[in-house]
């Protein structure tokens, strides 16, 4: 039946309407036609659904228009298949809800049309029976426009409501229709009290009739009036308000309303005063600000300049570090490499990126001349960090080697320095050099010295004995004193050269590592005593007092090459006497400190200048003063002494003040291997 009903509604059927034949049917079709006309022309969208299946049975043209779907697209579809209704029916289950409720109304439903337009619609659905069939009729009314103007109105009235100005709307007779909260606040009247009253009592409170007549003439002729009014408060007080009254005309040009907008004069005047004051302040402040700004700019400029200088310096430092000839690495306090320059890369064969962040010792082992790995604790860079001071292996005598990436080795000189920031060691810098060439040169030099010394020794030795033989001859003994003096001079000179050659030989043997220790168990105190006794003979030269202090307790015998040990003591005591001043003193003191034997030789002699102290152990070095005092020295003695002592695992230290004297101290470990 319903189907039939809708069938006749269908436009394609309309072209050939199946007009009924009998009168009752005709009567029916007439009313149907009337409804159909209504359906077709309605300014609401109408949708007819089969309540059982949810399929769209019919949709009127207006609905098609607002939703932008054609009739064919709508017919026979389920409601939930159309995106436009997703908000109402997103599933069959939701449709069931629609089915159950006889009447549903959504006042403000946002819909999206087929072409993507958003509309706001009112949606009403009714369920009713047509014969024995249940249908759902949905009316959809677009309310977008209404909603917009509604919203606008609400917004405007809100704005008026909260405006700081007092606002009064009257009808054409001046009877108050509306006041805003600003006005109620200032006047003391409530909204309800104000509405319906004559505007005269409120805003024209203290103005005379003449004044009022003029005003009325102006606004009733449709012009805007602007001036000062005295308002009256509910409690009887008055207050001046700057007022603008605007007549509002309807479409036919008739004045329907007046709008009065008021502003508090007092506060405006105060505001103006304030403004002037503030302005003055502002001018002053802006001046101060301008100055501050300029000062800031200057500071910024200075900072920029300083930054630029620092950057240049940094770049320069970095460039220097990178291009410097020595290999340089930097590590953090845990010995992880933080920097490595190109020279270091070339030296060890590792690339910067291979070692950065890694442990230096893992990459570059350090070995002694016999290939024994140097313990990590003894490596200069570790020592620099642990001891917070410079640690160096720089002479060709320090026979240490680095092992390259390709397992080859090279003799290396090392200077390692701690990096100290705020008194904390944050890392170390290692400076490395390949000293292969230096070592070769040094070796060649030593070999040359050795050879030359031997060759020199033979003729000198021959002279020595011949001179002695001659001296012993009766002939010589009987010769005049002058001749014998000449002879002695020749002898002495010969001895001097021999002594020099002897020293040279010692040095060359040390340098070539050819000094062989022949250790025997020795009573060191006894050995020292013997040397000191022998040296007493030469103390008369400067009238020196030579003393010896030994510990009361016995010192255990030490395994040492006694000849060399005596040579060391002799050398130090000899120096002390040689460089003493007239009637000075030399004291040898032996002390035991834990497992170390301290042997110090203290003199009251000429001392050593700070400058010379640095070079004291350098081969052939002789200070100017030393040369003056004793022209015969070779400058090798201390070098030999130091080398011997270090060979025994000990060390030689000294303190000296120029003009006051020097103290040389041997630190000798008692547990000799």
């Amino acid at each position: 039946m319903l189907k039939h009903l809708f069938n006749i509604f269908a436009p394609q059927k309309e072209e050939n309407p199946p007009y009924p034949v009998n009168p009752s049917e005709k009567k029916l079709s007439l009313s149907e036609l009337r409804y159909r006309r209504l359906f077709e022309t309605a300014q609401d969208g109408i949708l007819i659904l089969d309540a059982d299946s949810g399929k769209i049975e019919d949709a009127n043209p207006y609905l098609q228009e607002i939703l932008a779907y054609s009739k064919n697209e709508l017919l026979g579809k389920h409601l939930w298949e159309l995106g436009v209704f997703k908000d109402i029916v997103s599933s069959k289950e939701a449709f069931l809800k629609l089915q159950k409720q006889k009447y549903i109304r959504y006042k403000d439903l946002p819909l999206k049309t087929k072409n993507g337009r958003s509309i706001d619609a009112e949606f009403i659905s009714n369920v009713y029976m047509v014969g024995n069939q249940k249908v759902i009729q949905c009316n959809i009314r677009e309310i977008s426009e209404f909603k917009k103007s509604d919203e606008k109105l609400i917004l405007l009235s809100k704005a008026l409501e909260v405006a700081a100005n007092g606002i009064v709307i009257t009808d054409d007779k001046g009877i108050i229709q509306w006041v805003n909260s600003s006005l109620t606040t200032t006047s003391g009247y409530t909204f309800e009290e104000a509405v319906g009253k004559s505007s005269r009592i409120l805003i024209f409170g203290k103005n005379d009739t003449l004044f009022f007549r003029d005003l009325w003439k102006t606004i009733s002729s449709g012009k805007v009036w602007h001036g000062e009014l005295i308002n009256r408060k509910k409690d009887g007080g008055f207050y001046p308000m700057e007022t603008t009254i605007t007549p509002v005309k309807d479409q036919d040009g008739e004045i329907k309303n007046f709008i009065a907008i008021q502003q508090d004069l007092e506060s405006r005047k105060n505001l103006e005063k304030d403004l002037v004051k503030k302005n003055v302040n502002l001018v002053h402040q802006s001046k101060v600000q301008e100055e501050t700004k300029q000062a800031m700019l200057n500071v910024m400029e200075d900072l920029e300049e300083a930054k630029r200088v620092i950057e240049i310096e940094r770049a320069r430092d970095e460039a220097m570090l990178i291009s410097i000839g020595s290999g340089i690495i930097a590590t953090d306090q845990n010995l992880r490499v933080t920097f490595m320059n190109e020279a270091a890369e070339r030296l060890v064969g590792w690339k910067n990126e291979e070692v950065i962040g890694k442990l230096w010792f893992d990459f570059v082992p350090m070995v002694d001349e016999n290939g024994n790995m140097l313990p990590e604790d003894e490596r200069p860079i570790k020592q620099a960090i642990s001891n917070k001071k410079l640690s160096t292996f720089t002479t060709p005598l320090d026979n240490y080697y680095f092992i390259r990436k390709d397992k080859t080795k090279f003799p290396v000189s090392v200077v390692a320095a701690p990096i100290i920031l705020n008194r904390k060691v944050i890392g170390a810098i290692g400076v490395y050099q390949d000293i292969t060439r230096e070592k070769e040169i040094d070796k060649a030099k030593s070999e040359f010295v050795s050879l030359a010394s031997h060759q020199l020794r033979t003729p000198l030795g021959i002279m020595k004995w011949y001179l002695e033989a001659l001296e012993n001859e009766d002939y010589m003994k009987k010769s005049p004193r002058m001749i014998r003096n000449y002879f002695d001079e020749i002898s002495d000179s010969n001895e001097r050269v021999l002594s020099l050659v002897r020293d040279l030989l010692s040095v060359s043997r040390i340098d070539q590592g050819r000094v062989k220790n022949v250790p025997k168990s020795v009573d060191l105190i006894q050995a020292i005593k013997e040397v000191v006794d022998q040296m007493q003979i030469v103390t008369h030269v400067h009238n020196i007092t030579l003393g010896l202090t030994v510990p009361e307790n016995k010192i255990p015998p030490v395994n040492i090459d006694v000849l060399r040990f005596s040579e060391v003591i002799e050398n130090l005591v000899g120096n002390a006497i040689e460089y003493s001043v007239e009637a000075g003193s030399v004291n040898v003191t032996v002390k035991k400190q834990d497992d170390i034997l301290l042997i110090s030789v203290k003199d009251t002699g000429i001392g050593i200048s700070k400058e010379d102290q640095k070079k004291l152990f350098t081969k052939f070095f002789r200070s100017e003063k030393a040369v003056t005092q004793n022209p015969e020295g070779s400058g090798l003695g201390l070098y030999v002494v130091k080398s011997y002592i270090e060979g025994w695992g000990g060390k030689l230290s000294f303190e000296s003040v120029e003009g006051r004297g020097s103290t040389f101290t041997i630190h000798l470990p008692l547990c000799q291997k």
């Binding site: 020794r457 033979t458 004995w465 021999l498 002897r502 030989l505």
Partner: protein, 121 residues
């Protein structure tokens, strides 16, 4: 009369030692190298041999080895007279090591003569 053999390539040393020893009443023989020295030693069995180390042809060490291999030579008194330090080790470990090891340029002639006198007493 005690016999002393001097083995020394340096003429000046040889001449002086010869004169001085002869003057002190010894029977002195000279050899200019190890080869000659060994022959003279084995032929004449001297009471003391003063032996230089570095010599042409046969050196002192070589001659000493040969000498020690001989039944008489193994106990013969030998003083090494040299100017080379560190050579002492070369002769160590040999049977009947030398009696004295003398660095010529470090020793006084008088002292050497004294040592010889004491040794040959």
């Amino acid at each position: 009369m005690k016999k002393i053999l001097i083995v020394e390539d340096e003429k000046a040393y040889l001449g002086l030692l010869h004169d001085q020893l002869a003057k002190n009443g010894y029977d002195v023989m000279d050899a200019k190298d190890g080869e000659e020295g060994l022959k003279l030693a084995l032929d004449n069995k001297p009471d003391l041999i003063l032996l230089d180390l570095i010599m042409p042809k046969v050196g002192g060490i070589q001659m000493l080895k040969a000498l020690r291999a001989d039944t008489w030579g193994k106990d013969a008194s030998v003083f090494i007279l040299t100017n080379v330090n560190g050579s002492r080790e070369l002769t160590e470990g040999m049977s009947n090591s030398v009696g004295l090891y003398i660095i010529k340029s470090d020793m006084k002639l008088d002292d050497l003569l004294w040592d010889i006198k004491v040794t040959l007493k």
